[in-house]
């Protein structure tokens, strides 16, 4: 009986070019669609219409008023906490506001629900100052953790200039 000669090992060539084409197309797609956007956070504001959110509470929240006066060009003219003027040296005046809020709210761990801040900005004040004011009232960063002073922040009724 005649035996066939043993077949030699054959090398299987995988067609790579199609895969490489697709991979490069994917790479170019992701390169072009990549937008480097810094992470964004937000400040929540609860403003039900009529502002009667605490009508059922026995003790109304203690109202703290922060007033922000503006120059004609929209920059900060004067920052007030209650009737106390805190200056206009941005950003240090907001640090003073933060310290004042901490003195009232910071000591009452867990009781910041009883406090509410009303922001009363001038109409033309630039929005960036309001973000700073909200941040100063909301709390501070300690290490990596956020220490919250006051959660409830609202706006005073808008006073539109004639």
């Amino acid at each position: 009986m005649k035996f066939r000669k043993r077949e030699t090992d054959t090398k299987v060539d995988i067609q790579m070019s199609a895969m490489i084409d697709i991979v490069f197309q994917l790479l170019i797609f992701f390169l072009l669609t990549l937008k480097i956007i810094p992470p964004e956070g937000d400040f929540n504001i609860n403003m039900p219409i009529g502002a009667v959110a605490n009508a059922n509470d026995d003790i109304p929240p203690m109202d703290l008023k922060v007033k922000l006066e503006a120059n004609p060009d929209g920059t900060l003219k004067q920052l007030y906490f209650g009737s106390r003027a805190l200056g206009n040296d941005f950003p240090f005046c907001f640090e003073r506001l933060n310290q004042d809020i901490a003195a009232i709210a910071g000591g009452q761990q867990g009781y910041s629900d009883d406090l509410e801040v009303e922001l009363d900005p001038d109409y033309g004040l630039h929005y960036r100052y309001i973000v700073k004011a909200i941040s100063a009232c909301r709390g501070r960063i300690q290490g990596d953790q956020q220490v919250t002073y006051i959660e409830k922040i609202k706006f005073a009724p808008v006073d539109r200039p004639e």
Binding site: L31, I45, I49, H126
Partner: protein, 160 residues
Amino acid sequence: MKIKHAKPTIVEADMTPMIDMTFQLIAFFMIVTNFEQTQADERVKLPADKLARPPKVARENDIVLNVGFDRNELGQKISQEPGIFYGDQPIPIRDYFPRLKDEYTLAAKQFGEAEARKRTIVIRADGDVPTGLIQELIKLGQEAGFEKFALKAKSDDEAG
């Protein structure tokens, strides 16, 4: 004299490291690419604050309003009148009420009044926008029926 003929040889480049690297690059870009912030408008120069942190639980069905100035490619203001970017053209803030009302009516039909009220209006406003206009926008939102509002800011504090 006998001349040796060299056999033509096919040089095969080793593609394996290149493919490895390319896959790693693709994986990197897939992870880094953020498809969630597609509602953000690049013309809005957000103020920055350390305390602005992304919400722990991602909100669903929120309405993002980009409030800012029309800017050129260099980021300079073309117009001094801020508006809400809806498509290409900014819409004056005081003219935006019908759209907010439509949003509320649509949400109320789809999910019910209670759920519609819970939808958050996320305001992405430029740092130079007058605060009074933001207050007016919030008031328009209230009149349309919404109760929850969120003000966006960049999470870092380097820009001041």
